[in-house]
Amino acid sequence: MTWPVLLSVFLRAAFLSVNGGTTLALLRQDLVERLRVLSPADFAIGVAVGAASPGPFGYGCIALGFLADGWRGALVATFTSWMPAFLAIPLRAGYRRMEKAVWISGVSWGVAAVGSGLLIAMAFTLAVGALTGWREAALGALLLALLFRRVPAPMVLGVAALAGTLFLR
């Protein structure tokens, strides 16, 4: 892939997406369907590696960049995925400038309520996809019980991975 093509593919995915899932969907359009740089199997490997690695799900784009164009692709995928995130600085600054305005407390209240709703919706979507049988449901209940007893998150994820290796293979 040439530099301009590589950059345009990953910039498009970064700036036209609204979350990690859409980033990967846009990359599939370009890398698998339009440019045919990756096979569907390669794409599945990239997404699986991203899902199995720590960090945001959308970081599967790093794996796709690597599979499509080696180290250069991985680095371009990484840095382009960062770019939209820096829009958060002016957004937060603008919000802080208006923080003293009377109406902004209403905005904070409303945004927090909607943010929580979106978070719980995301949790339900994940749960529905993950709980496919009684063993999965039992593991989910055990992990929730550990979390309610304030067991640290990394330890709970360690238990999840170990239980998955032993009982969900």
């Binding site: 997406s17 609204v18 979350n19 699986a48 590696v49 991203g50 199995a52 720590p54 960090g55 945001p56 799900f57 959308g58 970081y59 599967g60 690597f66 995925s81 939209p84 995130a85 820096f86 829009l87 600085i89 957004l91 937060r92 923080e99 009377v102 407390s105 209403g106 209240w109 409303g110 945004v111 927090a112 309520a113 909607v114 943010g115 929580s116 709703g117 979106l118 978070l119 719980i120 919706a121 949790a123 994940l126 749960a127 993950a130 709980l131 999965e136 989910g140 929730l144 979390l147 998150a153 990394p154 709970v156 994820l157 999840a160 991975a161 998955g164 290796t165 032993l166 969900l168 293979r169």
Partner: protein
């Protein structure tokens, strides 16, 4: 720099010292290395680090920052990382936080690509991934529950009822594919402005 922030459960106010740049980056390196389970696990770990273990932010501010990230393109968690890094150490903090979150993931992803391409995988890895996805769902449910508890605790009953109604409406509307999360966040802000006389929030 000392800040006052509510504890993770939304309870009493506790003074918390802002992290040094090294401590801030260490939080993100730890999250980037241990948050197996995708964005859900990453979000839950960041909430744990910033609101529970060391109450640097109130639950309300964490929710607000997360809500604002939904207005931006790209991965929400990267925007949240930039906001958190920038809040404590400006642009350098934002950049290094992003680097800290990314480097462990980057290394593990490239290692994983190498392993998968060479065929060194098996049912054990598939099982671990399945277990981690269940862990991520549990983590996110727990985080959502704690955030709601923290937000609702200081509100008077009328504001609390309206907050839960708006939260449930957002939850339901998020299932409609034609409505993007950004519109829901903007709508939530607008509803908050319109309902402000009824809310009587004790928040700043």
């Amino acid at each position: 720099m000392t800040r006052l922030a509510s504890s993770g459960s939304g309870g009493s106010l506790t003074p918390a010292t802002a992290p040094t740049l090294v401590e801030l980056v260490a939080i993100f390196v730890r999250t980037g290395a241990l948050a197996f389970g995708g964005g859900a696990a990453t979000l839950a770990m960041l909430h744990d680090e910033f609101c529970v273990r060391r109450p640097l932010l109130s639950d309300a501010e964490f929710q607000l920052l997360f809500g604002l990230t939904r207005l931006l393109p790209g991965m929400n968690l990267l925007s949240l990382t930039v906001m958190l890094g920038h809040r404590f150490h400006g642009v350098v903090g934002a950049l290094l936080s992003l680097l800290g979150l990314t480097v462990p993931s980057f290394a593990i992803i490239l290692l994983g690509c190498g392993l998968l391409r060479s065929g060194h995988t098996g049912p054990a890895l598939a099982g671990a991934v399945r277990g981690l996805s269940i862990g991520a769902a549990a983590l996110l449910l727990d985080t959502g529950w704690r955030l709601c508890q923290g937000s609702l605790a200081p509100l008077p009953w009328r504001s609390r009822t309206l907050w839960v109604t708006l939260m449930l409406a957002a939850l339901l509307l998020s299932r409609v594919p034609a409505i993007s999360a950004a519109w829901l966040v903007l709508g939530g802000g607008l509803v908050g402005v319109l309902l402000r006389p009824l809310i009587q929030s004790q928040r700043p």
